[in-house]
């Protein structure tokens, strides 16, 4: 008797990849799915359940279904990929150093001068000066007459 294909295994594994990759490429764009990755965890739970169902079928009814070997490999890979996702999101992302020495609320922000993306040196005091203009920027960026303050955002970079 020809044994039938065991699609739950392959669909499940494909869903592991989708459930993982859709975080950096899609769900990270929306605060509700980024701050806690519930959409990805849901996809991964369904994916692993499908793989488990496929494996059970392969081992309990080997005369009817294929997938003992391929299913085992896919299950190991699926668990590994899921584990890596959980590691990055719930562990690695939280390994930021504390910052006891950064300027506190109420303190004067220490002056600095560093280049902008065109290589021109920019001082903090110049940014706070109402006459600050950058010729190379669109006029709406710094076109106002008065500076009320500055939002300064530090990024991890690699853009």
């Amino acid at each position: 008797m020809k044994r039938s294909w065991n699609p739950a295994l392959w669909v499940g594994f494909a869903l592991v990849l989708i459930g993982t990759l859709s975080y950096p490429y899609f769900f990270i764009r929306f605060p509700v799915t980024r701050d806690f990755p519930w959409a990805n965890l849901l996809l991964l739970a369904i994916a692993l359940a499908l793989i488990a169902a496929g494996l059970r079928r392969a081992f309990q009814r080997p005369e009817a279904y294929v997938g003992k070997i391929s299913g085992s490999i896919l299950a190991v890979l699926g668990v590994f990929v899921t584990g890596f996702f959980l590691f990055v999101v719930f562990y690695m992302a939280r390994q930021l150093p504390a910052s006891s020495g950064s300027p506190k609320v109420g303190a004067a922000a220490p002056e600095f001068t560093i280049p902008d993306s065109l290589g021109h040196p920019v001082a903090l005091s110049a940014l706070l000066d109402s006459s600050f203009r950058t010729n190379d920027w669109p006029s709406d960026a710094f076109g106002r007459d008065k500076t009320d303050g500055l939002v300064l955002i530090f990024y991890r970079g690699y853009w």
Binding site: S100, G149, I153
Partner: protein
């Protein structure tokens, strides 16, 4: 607003053009500012490079810090709506005289 990262001016300018950002991007490629402001994430970048830990500051026109957000999870940052709300609540156009 101004953004800061440890990327070089060339890399930052490429991003700025590509993404069409109109805000200022400052390039702390010598790690000078993030060291002085204690915002270094040692070996946090590719190849063990030191990068900035994510942080957001709001300064008033006198250069005084009025609001700080230091996240402990790099996936969770200050949201634009949150920053705008804080700016409104701080009444930055009339800084306190203390």
């Amino acid at each position: 607003m101004a953004a800061v990262s440890v990327d070089s001016p060339e890399e930052s300018e490429r991003l700025r053009k590509l993404a069409g950002y109109s805000f200022l991007i400052l390039c702390d490629d010598q790690d000078e500012l993030i060291r002085r402001w204690d915002l270094v994430h040692a070996h946090g970048g590719e190849g063990g490079k030191d990068i900035a830990r994510p942080a957001e500051f709001i300064l008033d026109s006198t250069g005084k810090v009025r609001w700080v957000k230091l996240t402990d999870d790099f996936l969770i940052r200050a949201r634009p709506e949150e920053v705008l709300q804080v700016i409104d609540s701080l009444h930055l156009s009339s800084p306190p005289s203390d």
